[in-house]
């Protein structure tokens, strides 16, 4: 069937309301009588709480209640962790600290007041007595010993894990050469533009709790919060209104979400908490936080024999939802885009007196890609060959897919050389190298960095996931001919209200404006898993697609019945079922329109579709007939609706090539982009505009990590980069023009052929940027630089300081 919408640059239907400021985020929802919550948070990284005096604060006019750890310890269950690993230490992390705080920003008390100003002022009046304890912030120190954070254990090691396949020792001993490099993956703060926020409303009569929360996982959150606060799951409704960015930081179940629900139940009033930016940097999960050593063994001809990565993972003080699992995702992707016969990863994951790390855009995979790509650059340097050629030498050929890696994965499909060729062509690679050579002779420092990444998306098969890896969709055609899509995914900026409507409009042959995509309300939408891990389109979009096929199977039968023909004699095109002899006439008539023009419908009785003498019927007429149900085939349920839960058989593995060209200012160490070229292959593309947007945003966050961003705690565990005056997220002036293109290698994993693209930019770009700066500084003998690469570091290298 020719596509009218899929593959087109359809503008986001979400945008007008966002651009006009008409969208509703949690804080835009105002319920009468809402109370406001503010949190007293620890100013110390590690301390015993020896006393809390709330009396002065409680006597402040407007303050209605103050809850401390002691008040809720036996009322609200621990903050959940879904990471299941052998011998994993799981601290009993409660929603409010009781006897001890173990990171700066640890919530100690919740103050409830009639407005947010009183609540905030009253926080200052809650007197907390602390007895400071020794602090450990450095993960390697935490691994060695250092002050123990959790009294239940005698050390700070949360788990150790060795993974990988192949004979790693044999691979290293058979190699001609080995290079090693210590590599840092600094902590980052996800900084969604909208911080977290929760609004809770409890109706004591109905015993129903509704939580509006800025989350990526409304259904998973419903299940977990119900368990935490002991409300029946079907009495808890979670609604995610507009969500202003998540980047993984809202793929979580937070203490504040459970607390707000519980407080609302105690007071039988709506209660709201909107995270401040300070809280957001202190107490919303951080990302990355690995330091380790990579060793790569290879032959003189550039063939890779083996790779070993031994890493200390900085988990922070406790586990959030996926904290311990993130480093294991790094382990899965250590083969990169290459044939590496033996791979070993050794993880030592430790507690430190800092906020928990967890999933931040890429979630373990940027770390893997960075390690592998930096290692490939080191191989190229060691051999004195072009980094593109070392990569090319080790790619699996397209015919080798499904390709089994020594990390235990089966890559679905790929043409890595195709993407590299295209990117090199776009960049004019050979000429770039000549220009670079000439510039060096003139004393200019130009560097070219390449990353040929592969990532793992469409998370994922339920076998590999803690709580289901499928996604759900319901598609129905309403009596008026409007199409409703209910997706279990929870898009929050990705644009699936548009792309799912494109899929539905094409598959049903209706106008895209007749399709509405609904998500993010557990009271309306069937259970879903949510939006993360670049899964929404590949898994959730497929569920939509298959649900439509189910719906059409039913429509086929009704159409045959109404047209009094055998179903095999009908064709479906442009939204119309036609008898085959009439198909030619019906073809090319475009999309079908609703039978009931809404504005004109005068009466309560819906018109019955007229079938007399008709040789074709629109699917919307069939929907109406199915609804009126006066003349349906035998044993046919009324209505036209179908639900499907799609379980993928594998992950998908998008890939691509990013090329960054930078120039370094010899005098100041400033780094300037000259070019940025990216060829991404995310399988079949539903909407190129959305794909470009995802790639843009991802590259920008990569630029942030490569050059600017770094969460810094001092040795006392004080968060030094606690505001956006100190923590540098990239601005428009920091980013170059992106030259983007694609190759399209469909995945066999789902019928749409889509792979996912949400994280490609953050995974693929970082090594290209760092590689470019390292390459620019090659005349000074530089082989590696840790991120963020600040101008001062560059200046020191150039000037030998």
């Amino acid at each position: 069937m020719p596509n009218k919408y899929v593959g087109q640059r359809v503008k986001r239907t979400e945008d007008p309301r966002l651009i006009k400021g008409l969208a509703h985020y949690v804080d835009d929802i105002n319920l009468p009588g809402t109370l406001h919550v503010a949190f007293v948070r620890s100013m110390y990284a590690h301390a015993k709480i020896t006393g809390i005096d709330t009396s002065v604060a409680l006597s402040t006019p407007g303050v209605l209640a103050i809850y401390t750890g002691a008040d809720v310890a036996d009322k609200i269950g621990p903050v959940p962790c879904a990471g299941a690993l052998p011998d994993l230490k799981v601290p009993d992390h409660r929603v409010l600290a009781k006897d001890k705080v173990y990171f700066m920003g640890h919530p100690i008390a919740a103050v409830v007041a009639t407005d947010r100003y009183i609540a905030r002022d009253a926080c200052e009046l809650v007197m907390v007595d602390y007895e400071e304890l020794p602090v450990v912030t450095d993960v390697e120190e935490a691994a060695k010993g250092g002050p123990v954070i959790h009294d239940a254990w005698t050390d700070n090691i949360a788990y150790r894990l060795t993974s990988g396949e192949g004979d790693i020792d044999a691979a290293f001993s058979a190699a001609d050469r080995v290079v090693k490099q210590r590599v840092l993956h600094q902590r980052l703060a996800p900084i969604a533009m909208e911080p977290r926020g929760v609004l809770g409303r409890y109706f004591p009569g109905e015993e129903e709790l509704t939580l509006w929360s800025s989350t990526q996982i409304p259904h998973l959150m419903r299940t977990q919060v119900a368990l935490m606060i002991g409300i029946p799951e079907n009495k808890l409704r979670v609604i995610t209104p507009e969500v202003g960015g998540g980047f993984g930081s809202k793929l979580n179940v937070y203490a504040e979400e459970a607390l707000l629900g519980w407080i609302s139940m105690q007071l039988a009033k709506p209660v709201k908490w909107i995270e401040t930016r300070r809280e957001n940097i202190q107490a919303t999960i951080h990302g990355r936080g690995q330091i380790g050593e990579v060793e790569i063994a290879f032959k003189n001809d550039g063939t890779i024999n083996g790779l070993r990565y031994s890493v200390f993972a900085d988990l922070g003080a406790y586990h959030q939802l996926l904290t311990p699992a993130i480093p294991t995702l790094t382990g899965l992707m250590l083969s990169g885009a290459y044939k590496i016969p033996a791979i070993q990863m050794n993880i030592t994951a430790c507690f430190t007196n800092k906020m928990a790390t967890d999933a931040y855009r890429g979630a373990g995979r940027p770390e893997a890609t960075y390690i592998v790509e930096r290692a490939l650059d080191l191989v190229a340097q060691d051999l004195g060959v072009d980094p593109a050629e070392v990569r090319r030498k080790n790619f699996p050929a397209p015919s080798e897919f499904p390709f089994h890696t020594a990390t235990g994965l089966d890559y679905d499909s790929g043409d890595y050389e195709g993407a590299l060729d295209k990117a090199q062509q776009m960049a004019g690679y050979a000429k770039l190298r000549e220009d670079q050579k000439r510039a060096r002779e003139e004393g200019r420092l130009i560097g070219i960095g390449i990353s040929t990444y592969v990532e793992i998306c469409a998370l994922g098969p339920s076998q590999a996931m803690p709580a289901g890896g499928w996604e759900s969709a319901t598609v129905r055609i309403e009596p008026t001919g409007k199409v409703t899509v209910l997706t279990g995914a929870s898009p929050h900026g990705q644009g699936q209200e548009t792309s799912f409507a494109q899929i539905a409009a094409d598959e049903l042959g209706v106008n895209i404006n007749d399709v509405t995509v609904i998500h993010g309300d557990t009271g309306v939408v069937q259970y879903g898993i949510g939006t993360f891990g670049s899964r929404a389109t590949a898994v959730g979009g497929t569920a939509v697609f298959v649900a439509i096929q189910k719906l059409k199977e039913k429509a086929d039968k009704i159409a045959a019945h109404m047209l009094k023909a055998d179903a095999s004699r009908l064709s479906f095109e442009g939204g119309k079922y036609s008898l085959q002899q009439a198909a030619a006439a019906a073809a090319g008539t475009g999309v079908s329109e609703p039978v009931v023009p809404v504005a004109e419908a005068p009466a309560a009785a819906l018109p019955e579709p007229q079938t007399e003498g008709r040789s074709s019927l629109t699917i919307q007429e069939i929907a109406l007939a199915a609804h009126i149900a006066k003349d349906l085939p035998p044993d046919t349920e009324p209505g036209l609706s179908a639900t499907y839960f799609f379980e993928p058989k594998n992950f998908t593995f998008p890939f691509g090539t990013h090329i960054a060209v930078v120039e370094v200012d010899r005098e100041t160490g400033d780094i300037e982009f000259l070019r940025y070229v990216a060829v991404d292959d995310c399988g079949r593309v539903i909407n190129p505009l959305l794909v470009d947007g995802q790639v843009h945003g991802g590259i920008v966050q990569s630029i942030g990590q490569a050059l600017y961003e770094e969460v810094v705690y001092n040795e006392d565990g004080q968060l030094v980069t606690g505001t956006l005056m100190d923590y540098a997220i990239p601005r428009a002036s920091h980013i170059p023009n992106f030259e983007l293109d694609r190759t399209e290698t469909p995945t066999p994993v789902n019928p749409l052929g889509v792979k996912g693209v949400g994280e490609a930019g953050t995974i693929g770009a970082t090594p290209a940027i760092v590689g470019a700066v390292v390459d620019a500084l090659a005349p000074f003998g530089v082989k590696h630089l840790d991120m963020p690469i600040k101008p001062e570091n560059v200046w020191r290298i150039i000037n030998g300081h």
Partner: protein
């Protein structure tokens, strides 16, 4: 990010503002554009009892040429200075400096007087005011007095403004003869404030030699300063790569450079020298 409780008054005249301040000399603070004070209040680093908002006093926002002087009202916004055709013609350093401040939203609200009175060690305006030898008019309960920019900036967030006084006007001698200007800035990637900012006003003789130079530096130390070593090295000298480099090398004479998370004192000193050199060259290149 909610400030502690405070009172707010928006007087219609300067006289009213002065008397409001006099009523609570310790607890009251003057609010203009609010782009330094409000963030500090939100972090509860500043907790004034009373804000006296002078941004609504219409007579305080102006850019005027009067005799050989340029007069600028304290609540003139960065954007008004950036976009002033008059200034682009007679004193282009000011629009050039203004264009480096924050972003468009900040420039639409923030004021030159607020920035100078706040004396942020990395603010942009102090550098320009020093380079141009500005004079600041302070109005208080006892009338008005004028202070040279040189002696106005005392230390970190500290100026010569006495309790009860309001910065009313900033005045410059209108540049005459042949002159060039430049503002070179290294913005902090997070805050946008100057890691180093160098403002240069260069007067030139008919033969191309330097008649006089004003060099203001911000970001480097706890307060903005005039680089007098550079100014005296330039005055009367024929400008070439050597003389410029030699002058720029003196930019941090007797200065303790700040070390922070982003840049060490050594690096700041180095950047100040490089950007002083670049600013002088740029001023020379655009001299008319």
């Amino acid at each position: 990010m909610i400030p502690a409780q405070f009172d707010y008054q928006a007087p219609a005249t300067l006289e009213e503002a002065v008397s409001l301040l006099a009523g609570d000399p310790d607890g009251a603070r003057v609010l203009a554009g609010g782009h330094s004070l409000i963030p500090a209040m939100k972090l509860r680093l500043a907790q004034p009892q009373l804000l006296v908002d002078i941004a609504r006093i219409k007579s305080l926002a102006y850019i005027r040429e009067e005799g050989d002087q340029i007069l600028i009202g304290a609540t003139t916004t960065h954007y008004q200075l950036e976009s002033s055709d008059l200034l682009k013609q007679i004193c282009p350093l000011l629009p050039a400096c203004a264009g480096n401040i924050g972003d468009v939203q900040v420039r639409n609200k923030g004021t030159i007087g607020g920035s100078l009175a706040h004396s942020d060690p990395a603010g942009d305006w102090p550098a320009a005011a020093l380079a141009l030898g500005a004079e600041l008019a302070l109005t208080g309960p006892n009338g008005e007095r004028a202070v040279k920019a040189d002696s106005f900036f005392i230390d970190l967030l500290t100026t010569d403004i006495q309790p009860g006084e309001i910065l009313r006007e900033i005045r410059f001698k209108k540049p005459s003869g042949r002159f060039g200007h430049a503002y070179q800035k290294v913005p902090h990637p997070a805050s946008g404030y100057a890691v180093v900012g160098v403002a240069v006003h260069l007067g030139l003789n008919a033969d191309g030699s330097c008649s006089s130079a004003g060099v203001g530096v911000t970001g480097v130390s706890t307060k903005a300063f005039r680089a007098q070593g550079v100014e005296s090295a330039l005055a009367g000298v024929t400008l070439d790569d050597q003389t410029i480099a030699a002058a720029a090398a003196r930019v941090c004479d007797n200065i303790n450079a700040t070390t922070d998370l982003y840049a060490s004192g050594d690096y700041r000193r180095h950047l100040a020298e490089v950007h002083t050199r670049r600013a002088i060259k740029s001023a020379l290149a655009n001299a008319k």
